[in-house]
């Protein structure tokens, strides 16, 4: 499917990840705290994107189980960063929905400077549903 190819390209663009760098060691899944709750495991995300099977990824519950703890990003020996792929797929799904749960103006009040920015952004994506 052509659109899946496009989506895969989009995911690579958003995440900045090159799935071809993966050597399939599985350290991402080994290190993932939400592994048990995921249907598609972190290491599989990489090969799904590589094989351009995006449809399944967008339906995956893993998107909403990933804590964005970024342990996989930190520990990936090949710099593939599966966490960023998951985040990118999330973003892709979000972009295809409509309406915002929060208006940008409300955000500053809710902000705690201690929270890592990445966590915040990805939390918005997760809980906006």
């Amino acid at each position: 499917m052509k659109s899946e190819k496009k989506q895969a390209e989009k995911i690579k663009e958003i995440s900045g990840v090159n799935p071809l760098k993966c050597m399939k060691c599985g350290k991402c899944s080994a290190t993932c705290p939400s592994f048990a709750e995921m249907d598609i495991k972190p290491h599989q995300f990489v090969s799904y994107v590589q094989n351009e099977e995006i449809e399944e990824l967008t339906k995956s519950v893993s998107l909403w189980k990933c804590l964005s703890c970024f342990a996989c990003v930190e520990r990936c020996p090949r710099d593939v960063k599966p966490g960023k792929i998951i985040d990118a797929v999330r973003q892709l799904v979000e972009r295809e929905k409509d309406g915002d749960y929060l208006s940008p103006n409300e955000i500053p009040e809710l902000l705690d400077p201690e929270i890592p920015q990445q966590l915040l952004v990805s939390a918005f994506r997760r809980y906006r549903r």
Binding site: K21, M23, K24, C25, G26, K27, C28, S29, A30, T31, C32, F35, A36, K41, H43, Q44, A71, R75, C76, P77, R78, D79
Partner: protein, 662 residues
């Protein structure tokens, strides 16, 4: 202008079938400077060469162009022929009208036209050729081996056996290197010390081998065949000629709190020590940084107990200067620092160890006398987990990009030895790929799985979590069953990546040997000259060139020795005359050429220059023609155009360009 002769070869029909050779001869006669032109069916034959020689003599030729096959084929043949006729061999140029013309073009008109142009280019070049003399330099018949591990020992033995004197410089107090730290070796499971010690003894006893232990190379100058090296012999504080190696000093030394490097810091040693029992030389050294006598001035027990009176607190570092014809680098490797891998809890738990530490634990002379036990509480482990590729094959900054090559095999060895000696211990290996190319290697690994029941799991470990009860919780992937595994282990062994010995970059800089981004020394050619450095006279032995196991190291050590012997066997070296040369009048001493030179062949001298009557001291580039390999990088870099390459000068190449574009 030279008097030039052009000789066109038919090469049977190889050239003549597609190139009108008569036309080439005819056109050659029209070229400026050409006084003779002829064709012949086989120029490279005896008769063909005789024709060239006759023409050189009769017509008093100053330059020769042979239109024939590739210069890679017969340039030497024709140069030698010309030399016999009294012409400088470097006055011969080849126009390649076979490989680059007749063989690839079908149209005769087109091919002839191209052959004529190639001939013209060669004539234009030879017009500007200058006679070159291959230089000569002498060879000091002595070799230096840097590093006294198995690679250095083997290289030294091979060179010494060929009859040349060799010096080994070893940084630590004893030769033996990493191999002396190993317990057993794969795939035959021989005891490492049992096969290494005889080699160490042989090297020590060999009349042609001289060993400098506790010494380091400090300065290297000179070039192939004629290196001058300063070696710093660090003060041992023990007189080697007096010491009998009785070991009483080590027993009596009251300061036994220094981490034992040989046992990877797993236990402590005395301040006066020999690294291990079979050390060669069997003479202790005083570690001045930890010795009470040196720290506080009060002690001196070792001197008191030494019957031979060998302990000498006043000993000073000594600099030895020696000349060498060839240098072999055999600096070996170390394990990487695991500080950046805190997910494996290496620094948090004593029971997470590296494979080399496990070697020491398994060794009868090691910190646990060969008993497999947890270093934290001395209990025998029941569950052991091995983690592969820790720091190897990493694209990030924490690890190394390469495969360390030996880990798969030594892990199989460890797993097998443990299962053999302690059948009640379960061994699990987390692997990414199992790489076992090598004679009897895969069989060895399969034996570990099939006969010894080692549990291999495809997947990497994400983290190791020390538990309050002292156990280690290992969280890893099982990719084949798509599961995350949580496993309690008593000990975790990390197959840490190996890296070149950290001092090698400094040594490479002294030797002007090139080194890659991983600090491995670069070979002269990755496939065809794997044991030579691009810097002439420098040879590579062992892991300093790339990860390898013991048999590979030994064979490479032998190869490096042969290359060094080949060099030492020569009385004189002929140097390639096509080297760079600086025009002193134009050089402004900017150093840019020296920066790009891969061989360190360019240095600077302050010289009295007579520039059109103005006499002044100037800093000018001087090329050492024995070192220069003639790549020409400097010629293009030189901003003033002072640097030129003999045999491929700017004017010659421009003349060729002009002839082709005319």
């Amino acid at each position: 202008m030279q008097r030039i002769g052009v000789f066109v070869c038919h090469c049977g029909s190889n050239i003549a079938a597609t190139v009108d050779v008569k036309k080439v001869v005819e056109m050659a006669m029209c070229e400026p400077g050409v006084v003779h032109a002829e064709d012949y069916p086989y120029m490279c034959s005896e008769a063909g060469q005789a024709k060239i020689q006759a023409a050189i003599k009769e017509k008093n030729l100053g330059g020769v162009v042979v239109c024939s096959c590739s210069p890679r084929m017969h340039e030497n043949t024709f140069r030698k022929a010309a030399e016999k006729a009294g012409l400088n061999p470097y006055m011969v140029e080849i126009a390649n009208i076979r490989e680059h013309c007749s063989w690839i073009h079908k149209n005769m008109e087109e091919a002839t036209e191209k052959a004529v142009i190639l001939m013209k280019a060669a004539v234009a070049k030879v017009n500007l050729n200058t006679p070159l003399q291959a230089g000569e330099s002498r060879v000091t018949k002595r070799a230096l081996v840097i590093g006294g591990g198995i690679a250095g020992i083997q290289t030294a033995l091979d060179i010494a056996e060929a009859g040349y004197p060799v010096d080994i410089v070893e940084k630590t107090p004893s030769i033996g290197g990493r191999m002396s730290q190993l317990d057993k070796t794969f795939p035959t499971l021989d005891c490492s010390a049992c096969i290494l010690t005889p080699k160490m003894v042989e090297a020590n006893a060999h009349p042609n081998i001289n060993i400098y232990t506790y010494s380091e190379v400090e300065k290297v100058s000179g070039f192939v065949g004629d290196f001058t090296v300063d070696i710093r012999k660090k003060a041992r504080s023990v007189d080697m000629s007096k010491c009998t190696g009785c070991g009483v000093c080590q027993e009596k030394c009251p300061n036994k709190k220094t981490p034992n490097e040989f046992n990877r810091g797993l236990n402590n040693r005395s301040a006066i020590y020999t690294p291990f029992a079979q050390a060669i030389p069997n003479v202790p050294v005083i570690d001045r940084e930890h010795c009470t006598k040196f720290l506080t001035g009060k002690c001196g027990i070792c001197a008191k107990v030494c019957q031979a009176g060998a302990v000498d607190y006043e000993q000073q570092d000594e600099i030895i200067t020696e000349k060498y014809g060839a240098i072999v680098v055999a600096t070996g490797f170390n394990m990487i620092n695991l500080d950046k891998y805190d997910e494996y809890a290496y620094s948090q738990s004593k029971d997470v160890i590296t494979s080399l530490e496990l070697e020491r634990i398994m060794n009868a002379a090691g910190p646990t006398k060969g008993h497999l036990e947890r270093l934290s509480d001395g209990k025998a482990p029941k569950e052991m987990v091995f983690i592969q590729c820790v720091g190897s094959r990493c694209a990030d900054k924490r690890g190394k990009s390469y495969c360390s090559k030996i880990c798969c095999m030594y892990t199989a060895k460890h797993a097998m030895l443990i299962r053999d000696k302690y059948p009640d211990v379960n061994v699990t290996v987390f692997y990414i790929d199992v790489r076992t190319p090598g004679k009897n290697f895969d069989e060895f690994y399969r034996r570990a799985v099939e006969e010894y029941g080692v549990n291999y799991i495809k997947g990497q470990v994400g983290k190791v979590i020390p538990q309050p009860d002292g156990k280690l919780l290992v969280q890893g992937s099982d990719l084949l069953s798509n599961k995350q595994i949580l496993k309690e282990a008593d000990m975790v062994v990390l197959a840490a990546a190996i890296e070149p010995e950290p001092g090698v970059r400094n040594i490479a800089t002294m030797l002007t040997a090139s080194i890659d981004t991983n600090d491995f020394l670069t070979e002269a050619h990755a496939k065809l000259r794997p044991v030579e450095s691009p810097t002439a006279g420098i040879f590579l032995s062992g892991v300093c060139q790339g990860p390898k196991d013991i048999p590979e190291t030994v064979s490479q050590a032998g190869a490096a020795a042969v290359k060094a012997i080949g060099l030492l066997a020569k009385d004189k070296l002929t140097t390639n005359p096509c080297t760079a040369k600086a025009d002193e009048l134009m050089c402004n001493g900017c150093s840019q050429c020296a920066n790009v030179c891969p061989y360190g062949a360019i240095s600077y001298e302050t010289k009295l220059i007579n520039d059109h009557g103005v006499r002044e001291d100037r800093r000018v580039a001087v090329v050492n023609s024995a070192l220069c390999q003639g790549c020409g990088a400097c010629t293009v870099t030189c901003p003033s155009g002072a640097m030129d390459l003999q045999g491929f000068s700017n004017r010659q190449i421009l003349a060729e360009v002009d002839a082709i574009c005319r």
